[in-house]
């Protein structure tokens, strides 16, 4: 059960692909996301806890309604990447990629030989438990379809960008503005020219080699602008932010009406 090729083709044909971060360990929220047009659910296991069994339940939930998911892991530790891939999760997202070697470790962890070094078990959930594919077919298909996402969030990642981008199996390069601003010595100062220039540099280099720059947006306006400017892989924040923003919108509407009518 693979979905990566369809996603890669969509992007290549200029069709928008929507991804959203999942921060709450809820298969139900995943179903809601996929049913409402989200293409890729990113399970954020960098900052939020997920039990391994819950992760596989989440993969199943998203697959059941025809969507797919990618796991954001805290690092490129190979055994952990292999376990996640074995679950039938369609890819791995590595935050804070500092250099070529780390990006290479991600590819090595995700892909079977000859591309990488992932341990090979051809009867895992990802292989449909060995039904319908020969082991060699599974290995080839997994290598071809799996989604390899990295995030550049530091000065050293920017400095090694050319070498990182030379790795063919990296599909998308996202930017982490918060960590990036901190890494340049201006934490939170997103409008600092050094930070904005670094972001521009990452985006243009990434696009020039035909890879995606996955931007993250929290408002419909910002997203419309990004899509109009040719971004195909867009991220709409997370379940957490979506719930918080919607609840705040509803409550601020109610509270300001009450204030205007002197009810408190």
């Amino acid at each position: 059960m693979f979905h990566g090729k369809a996603i890669k083709e969509k992007i290549k044909n200029g069709k928008p692909v929507v991804q959203v971060m999942l921060r709450f360990a809820s298969p139900e929220i995943v179903e809601l996301m996929a049913l409402n047009g989200v293409d890729i659910v990113i399970i954020d296991n960098e900052h939020y806890p997920f039990d391994p069994q819950t992760m596989i339940a989440i993969a199943r939930a998203v697959n059941a309604v025809g969507g797919c998911c990618v796991a954001r892991l805290p690092n490129a530790e190979p055994a952990r990447i292999a376990q996640v891939m074995d679950m039938g999760i369609d890819g791995v997202w590595l935050p804070s990629c500092e250099n070529y070697e780390e990006a290479r470790a991600l590819v090595d962890g995700m892909k079977f030989p000859p591309v990488g070094k992932r341990g090979f078990c051809p009867i895992v959930r990802s292989a449909d438990y060995g039904k319908g594919m020969t082991p060699s077919e599974f290995a080839a298909k997994s290598n071809e379809e799996s989604l390899c996402f990295i995030q550049i969030e530091s000065k050293s990642g920017v400095e090694d960008l050319d070498r990182i981008l030379s790795i063919e199996d990296i599909d998308s390069v996202a930017i982490g503005p918060s960590d990036l601003s901190a890494s340049y010595g201006f934490p939170g100062d997103y409008n600092n020219p050094i930070v904005t220039n670094a972001i521009k540099y990452i985006k243009s280099k990434t696009r020039a080699v035909g890879k995606c720059d996955g931007g993250m947006f929290h408002t419909a306006e910002a997203m419309a602008k990004a899509v109009a400017s040719g971004e195909h892989l867009v991220s709409i924040g997370s379940d957490q932010q979506i719930l918080m923003n919607r609840t705040k919108l509803m409550i601020s509407t109610i509270q300001s009406w009450r204030e205007n009518h002197k009810i408190s």
């Binding site: 929507v18 709450f24 409402n36 419309a224 919607r246 509803m250």
Partner: protein, 256 residues
């Protein structure tokens, strides 16, 4: 935590309230609703599954941020209601209450004697494990602070409405337009004038009997409409509906 927010008193005094249903067993969403300013979350265990241990975790998550909680259980079965009250929730909601007798069964399950017949254990989580009050004080406190929400969703419930409203410990009346329409032989026709008339009658009778009547809205515009009509207790729908609305607005922008 039972009674901490005086939510029952606020319902009685028609003070401004905001409530929301919770349908997914995620303690973090409970925390977000609390931090965003929701006063009361009703966990929907009529239509959605919750493990008992998860329920108590959810209540604890709300308690961390001082938000009141209530559980919608599928019926008036007393032992289930007692178990949930023992967790420290502020109230119980029961759907489709069809008669005075059923409403009394609910009150009996929520309240200790002399008001009801709930089994008494004064060292549960609701009683702060017996650390804060003497048993008799806790029984009186729980009876005073706990609230009862009755949903009128059928023809027979409507027929018995006045008797149900006469029960002092029924604090809140909600109505269910979908089930009501079905019960009157018109499933799906929630907007039929006959159903609208019945809904309006439930609302006005409940309000004049001094009951709290929450009004459910799914958009900022609908919230303003409800406030202009004079409703003091606004319900935001559920986590499910708010996440859906948020996702749709964003995805819609990309996939026009």
């Amino acid at each position: 935590m039972l009674g901490r927010n005086n939510i029952r008193e606020k319902m009685k005094n028609k003070e401004p309230l905001i409530s929301c249903m919770l349908r997914f067993p995620v303690p973090a969403t409970m925390e977000i609703l609390a931090l965003a300013g929701v006063d009361l979350v009703i966990i929907d265990n009529e239509h959605y599954p919750f493990n008992p241990q998860t329920l108590i975790d959810l209540v604890r998550a709300a308690d961390v941020h001082g938000m009141a909680t209530c559980v919608r259980v599928p019926n008036c079965e007393p032992t289930r209601i007692a178990q949930i009250m023992d967790m420290g929730v502020d109230g119980i909601m029961v759907p489709s209450v069809d008669s005075y007798e059923e409403a009394m069964q609910l009150v009996n399950a929520v309240k200790y004697p002399p008001l009801g017949t709930r089994g008494f254990c004064p060292i549960t989580r609701a009683a702060s494990y017996g650390m804060k009050m003497k048993p008799d004080e806790f029984a009186a406190f729980s009876n005073e602070k706990s609230f009862v929400i009755v949903q009128i969703e059928t023809k027979s419930g409507v027929a018995d409405l006045e008797k149900i409203l006469s029960i002092p410990d029924v604090d809140v009346i909600e109505y269910g337009p979908s089930d009501l329409a079905a019960s009157y032989g018109m499933p799906g026709h929630n907007d039929d004038p006959q159903i609208q008339t019945i809904v309006n009658e439930i609302i006005s009778k409940a309000l004049s009997a001094g009951k709290d009547v929450p009004y459910m809205v799914h958009s900022p515009e609908a919230a303003i409409e409800a406030l202009e009509k004079g409703f003091t207790h606004i319900s935001l729908g559920s986590d499910q509906q708010m996440i859906t609305a948020g996702i749709r607005a964003l995805v819609g922008e990309v996939k026009k």
